[in-house]
Symmetry: C2
Subunit: 160 residues, 2 copies
Amino acid sequence: MVKELDEKNEALPDHVGWRLWQASRAWQAEFGAAMRAAGHAWFTEARAGLLGHIPRGGTRQSALIERSATSKQAVQQLLDGLEAEGVLERLPDPRDGRGKLVRYTRKGLDALRDGDRVKLQIEHDYVSRIGRHRFAALMDALRSLDAGPADGSQEAPETK
Amino acid sequence: MVKELDEKNEALPDHVGWRLWQASRAWQAEFGAAMRAAGHAWFTEARAGLLGHIPRGGTRQSALIERSATSKQAVQQLLDGLEAEGVLERLPDPRDGRGKLVRYTRKGLDALRDGDRVKLQIEHDYVSRIGRHRFAALMDALRSLDAGPADGSQEAPETK
DNA sequence: TCCATATAGTCAAGATACTTGACGATAGTC
DNA sequence: GACTATCGTCAAGTATCTTGACTATATGGA
């Protein structure tokens, strides 16, 4: 029944959600490929998402669970994997007998360093592709979206 | 409540990839929740991602595989699920005995209609949160990123 | 102090999404 | 007809995430 209609580029989505999703996936694919190419074979997107919530100085596991938008069991399983890979280590929290502290190992810190380098490379590439002005506008809009889910009367807050 | 000693807000990421990821996840969570609330209990993010590649007029399964960035087996399994849910149907391609055509059922078209409505609602909310100008700049930047991965001649370099 | 409740983390089982490998069927080409 | 490429399926395994049940420690009264 379908003639060529199907072959002539029927419109693909062009709304914020789709664009954000495509852009996010493209970034992650590029970043992950670069990280694995840099020798961090353990690097996956799910793990990267978790690591993004762990500051360089480490954190308590419970704080990590609050920040990430998943269940504590999911966080735990990702931590198990990262600990087994030698990227992180878990220590008992001296101030709370129930808690544990999550900390980067040397291997983990090395990965963070490489990650920073790759991020800069990708960002530089993006700027060269769409221009400094568009890139700045992109970041501004994304920060504004993140900042004001409930308060629409504010400009972008200070860049702390 | 919380002892503030080690809660001093160690910096969380603030780069393009992170911002895109967070924004994308937020959009998808909102969209998915609205769709499920609208009665489309079968709606998941993975399925939504696939449906995004299926135009209203349907498509060939092989074309779908090319568009989506995963394996043909992953596509097939998602199609199996969507077919079982009655959202899609697969017909033999009259022009190619090997191929199949993927088409929306009535139920699927109803979901598309609700999806369009939800998208507009979310977009309207975004505009009210960050302003028409920022929103337009966001879409412009995202489209530019998608358009020119290899050709940077769209905008003058304007470096510095 | 003792007890009730909340919090931090673990263990176990299952669902979903995705991957690789192997395979049969049809199409296109010679 | 034979060779090769494409289309789709079947099967098995991995990664990620979810729910439910459980232990241990902390906290806040009575």
